[in-house]
Amino acid sequence: MSKDSVKLLNFWPSVFGLRVHYALDLKGVSYDYQEESLPNKSKELLEANPIYTKIPVLIHNGKPICESLVIVDYIDSVWPGSHKLLPEDPYEKAVARFWADFGDKKLYDAGSRLIRAMGEEHKKAGKDFKWALMKIDEALGTIAPGKPFFGGDAMNFADVALAPFICCFKSYQKVGGFVLPGPEEWPNLYKWVDAVNSVDVIKISTPSDDKVAEFLERYRKHATRAA
């Protein structure tokens, strides 16, 4: 039986790259890792993702797959046996996809603006970020009441899509100059955070809150100076 060749091209602070790490690690897939330097992208990255020249890229048996959620979907298809990420039921699948997409449209978007913007736009980004977390707290209560994850007892597609933002919470609060509401206001969210942080394989690739905060603060200094 030939061995699969699996390689992840990534940049360690990327929440999108972390999604791919989580999917592979939850399934116990072994893979090579290549850290990319974004001002100095490797020839391999440029050839693997000519459209966007961005990480993450998964290279499986020589074929590149790009865009984090497309990659996670692909991983779930190719390695279905261990830890299925997408539910079998089409409606539950659609709900999982909806919340994964919410991570991009609302959570990432607000976080990104929080890092890059100034003044009024910065304030609004903070409000939007808190709104997004509130919606996630509500969703957890509706979709999987009494359970730790969107996927119930185990992480699913939605959990993998959203969990990478957890290590950025400290950074966003620092940059945004606010403190997030606590577990009294968002009980489901905090239970979910604890549950994610308790999953052993999640710890393998998650950078520390402080390391992320240091990176994002430097990034913000650079981004706002250039504005």
Partner: protein
């Protein structure tokens, strides 16, 4: 056979997102109620209940459950009714081909339906900024042409006769390109640079399902002209 009872689509006639879902439903030969939402005056209670997070159309309601986000709805429809009508929209047995289709559907969304897209920036800006953004938009269309070429058929699905996932994602373009040129005053690549894309446009416009799903071209132009002024004001620096 899974019942279509109570299949309802909450829609708006000039939404490219809603129209492409209609196209998917029609290609599958499904029967459904169409509920036109009055987006500019009052969204219906059903819409607000069905999509409380985004409050947007399209929403598909099936057996009392709401599915939101247009390409998410198309995937749902493809999974629940895989063999109906035109057959499956996403490649069934090839995970890499599926990933490729999802990538290019997402490309269409990022490049032609997003407020951060070059196409949008080109439309609302002027002078050198407009020209640069327009050039970028043309490169995006050339990228689509290259992908279409690699698929080896009339449609992005690779088939000469049936549309697939990427075709449905991009299906609004034949009706929206004239709004880019006439209202956005943008340059678009012609049949000399993008012959396959133009052949695809003609094939989509010829499809009876697409003709039924998408609005009358002149009505769309008239409506877009009015909306565009408001949009420009909102986004102009």
């Amino acid at each position: 056979r899974m019942g279509e009872e109570g299949l309802k689509l909450l829609t708006f006639w000039s939404s490219p997102f809603a129209c492409r879902v209609r196209l998917a439903l029609d290609l599958k030969g499904l029967h459904y109620d169409l509920q036109e939402e009055d987006l500019f005056n009052a969204k219906s209670a059903l819409l607000l209940e069905s999509n409380p997070v985004h409050k947007k159309i399209p929403v598909l309601i099936h057996n009392g459950k709401a599915i939101c986000e247009s390409m998410n709805i198309v995937e749902y429809v493809d999974e629940v009714w895989p063999d109906r009508g035109t057959g499956f929209l996403l490649p069934r047995d090839d995970a890499f081909a599926r990933a490729t289709a999802r990538f290019w559907a997402d490309f269409v969304d990022k490049k032609f339906l997003s407020l951060t897209a070059a196409s949008f920036k080109a439309a609302i800006s002027s002078g050198e900024e407009k020209e640069r953004a327009n050039d970028e938009m043309i490169q995006d269309m050339v990228a689509l042409e290259r992908f279409l070429e690699s698929q080896g058929g009339v449609f992005f699905s690779g088939s000469n006769t049936s549309m697939g996932f990427v075709d449905i994602a991009a299906s609004f373009l034949p009706w929206w390109l004239p709004t880019y040129t006439e209202i956005g005053r943008l340059r678009v690549p012609g049949p000399d640079t993008c012959p396959l894309l133009h052949r695809w446009i003609a094939a989509v416009k010829d499809s009876p399902e697409a003709k039924a799903a998408f609005p009358d071209q002149q009505e769309l132009l008239d409506f877009t002209k009015v909306r565009f002024e408001e949009v420009k004001k909102r986004f102009a620096q």
